[in-house]
């Protein structure tokens, strides 16, 4: 369809939908229906204007009516503008049709059915000559006036329905929250893969090399001192590499977490801690690996602090799911006065937790007790 006629078609569609809007008014009392109806027109307006129309933000939970008012406002504006514009377009097209019919058939029609042109002019005698004039004029009006009017209406539609600045921000925050959760999951999956690859690949190869160097060293009795020394140094070098690699893996993604899951890993941590520690683990549901890893390090760090600095005689670890958050709480009965500025322990906890958009609360009055409470969102 040539472009100008798309404008006219848009206006005619507007006429029909404006009438439908009036008829459907009771249905628009449902926010979802009003939303769907408004969305149809946003897409249509976007299509006409050649712009992409991004989805509007979903209203915040608990406020399903936030968007509804705007949809209704649009419905009123739509009826008020699309109805007259659509009628004008229909008048143009209808009269072009009448004039065309008159021009071709006027001589054959009985006098009682004399067709009339725009302006209530009966087609008889010399007025037949007006028909082509009207066709040309009306076509020119539709051709030239239709597109700008249609575009104006489309812009009005988008303007009324475009999200507010606050709405756009809300949408952006939702997007970022979701993509961050995805990035975290991807990161954790990557850590797990690297741990597995190192375990099956590099670590195994190093063990195999060390093993052969060990056997070689044993069979080198009587060999020149230089050769024996080189083999021994190579052997020691490989052993250091294995120890280093093991330390790196332990701090990146503790193998016990991979083997036993969060509950098993925390129980092992508490059992290996310098102070007697009780562990309570509630129903956790699905916890992203990144969050599990952070929970593990928080507990490890807190228990280490308890054992090293607090002179505590007992500690308690409590991990539970509170809504969308994983809550980790480590309490010890030590002397308190934990100073974030002094050790790197608590600031390390804070860094890891903040990276996951979580919160850290340290309560450690002089004389104790010390409580480190961490909440981390479990993704989207």
């Amino acid at each position: 369809m040539p472009k100008p006629w798309r404008g006219v078609a848009y206006l005619l569609d507007g006429l029909l939908t404006a009438l439908a809007t009036i008829v459907l008014l009771p249905v628009l009392a449902l926010p979802a229906a009003a939303h769907a109806w408004a969305e149809r027109h946003r897409r249509r307006a976007g299509l006409l204007l050649g712009v992409t129309v991004p989805d509007r933000p979903t209203p915040p939970a608990g406020r399903p009516w936030a968007r509804w008012g705007r949809d209704l406002l649009w419905a009123v504006a739509h009826v008020a503008t699309a109805l007259p514009l659509g009628l004008a377009a229909l008048t143009c097209l209808g009269n072009i049709l009448t004039a065309t019919v008159s021009l071709t058939l006027w001589w054959a029609l009985p006098p009682a059915a004399t067709p009339r042109l725009l302006g209530d002019i009966p087609v008889e005698g010399w007025t037949v000559a007006l028909a082509p004039v009207q066709i040309v004029v009306l076509a020119a009006v539709a051709w030239l006036g239709g597109p700008p009017l249609a575009r104006a209406h489309a812009r009005l539609c988008l303007a009324v329905l475009s999200p507010s600045a606050a709405g756009r921000l809300t949408q952006r925050v939702e997007e970022l929250t979701r993509t961050r959760a995805e990035a975290l999951d991807a990161h954790a999956a990557e850590l797990r893969r690297i741990e597995r690859d190192l375990h099956d690949g590099v670590q195994a190869q190093l063990v195999a090399v060390a093993l052969r160097l060990g056997v070689a060293g044993e069979s080198l009795t009587g060999a020149p001192e230089g050769a024996t020394r080189l083999v021994r140094e190579a052997h020691e070098g490989v052993e250091q590499a294995m120890a280093g690699l093991r330390a790196v893996i332990r701090t990146a993604y503790p193998p016990i977490l991979a083997d036993r899951g969060l509950a098993g890993a925390l129980t092992a941590l508490a059992a290996g801690c310098g102070v007697p520690a009780r562990v309570h683990i509630g129903e956790l549901g699905a916890v992203p690996v990144a969050v599990e890893t952070v929970a593990y390090f928080v507990v490890a760090e807190a228990l280490t602090n308890a054992a090293r600095h607090s002179r505590a005689t007992s500690a308690e670890v409590r991990v539970e799911r509170v809504g969308a958050m994983l809550s980790v709480r480590v309490t010890d009965d030590g002397i308190g006065g934990a100073d974030e500025a002094r050790g790197t322990g608590i600031s390390g906890i804070r860094r890891r937790v903040l990276a996951l958009d979580g919160t850290v609360q340290v309560t450690s009055p002089p004389g104790g007790p010390t409580t480190i409470a961490v909440e981390v969102p479990c993704g989207s």
């Binding site: 375990h199 195994a204 060390a210 060990g214 056997v215 044993e218 093991r246 193998p255 129980t267 054992a307």
Partner: protein, 214 residues
């Protein structure tokens, strides 16, 4: 000495076979997962077994489970568990039946051929061989009951016992006489309340107490 190996990584199992053959052990079977390990143990009745912690299908702690299953099937079956990393939890689980014949070492230790074969023979003879790193994990924090009654020297002796060293090795390492070692061990048994009539291996019981309370 007849050995069954459960290790899915061919590089490592072939290395182990090479080493053990060179040292006069006879590897009667090398298997890649838990169920075939149990089958091989039943079929070959080995003198000692070597099990990797991570085995198929999930590559988590199947090796520990396989070792415990095998020892339920054949109580006291000597098992030396190898791993890329050691966890005291696993050590405790392995030792809980109190029967001895248990080793738990980092794979790194395999390349110290003499020490490794020594540990393997110790395990085969019903002793224990704990990785120094397991012991190191236990040495953090203050001691508590019932170990708090032990003197620093006795703790040292107990730690070396936990690693699996026999009395002669203990005397060598600490630079004391065999007699002194006997006295320390007697004191440790007494303080831990392990009488000679106790069922189970007294040395293992002492090590277990150590693992549980450190």
């Amino acid at each position: 000495m007849r050995v069954v190996i459960a290790e899915d990584n061919v590089l490592l199992s072939s290395g182990l076979e090479l080493l053990l053959a060179a040292k006069g052990f006879e590897v009667v079977a090398t298997v890649g997962d838990g169920p075939s390990f149990l089958a091989a143990v039943t079929a070959h009745r080995p003198d000692v077994t070597i099990v990797d912690v991570r085995l198929p299908p999930s590559f988590k702690d199947e090796g520990i489970r396989a070792a415990l299953d095998a020892r339920r099937l054949r109580p006291g079956l000597p098992v030396l568990v190898l791993s890329q990393y050691v966890e005291r939890e696993y050590a405790k689980e392995l030792l809980t039946d109190g029967r001895g014949g248990i080793g738990y070492l980092l794979k790194d230790r395999v390349s110290r051929v003499a020490e490794f074969t020594g540990a393997l023979r110790r395990v085969a003879a019903g002793g224990t061989a704990m990785d120094p790193e397991v012991i190191a994990q236990l040495l953090v924090g203050p001691g508590r009951d019932p170990l708090s009654g032990l003197t620093p020297r006795e703790l040292q002796v107990l730690a070396l016992m936990a690693e699996g060293h026999d009395n002669t090795a203990l005397a060598d390492r600490l630079g004391i006489t065999l007699n002194a070692v006997h006295k320390h061990i007697g004191a440790i048994f007494a303080k831990l309340g392990l009488s000679p009539s106790d069922s189970g291996h007294r040395r293992v019981q002492a090590v277990l107490t150590y693992l549980n309370h450190r």
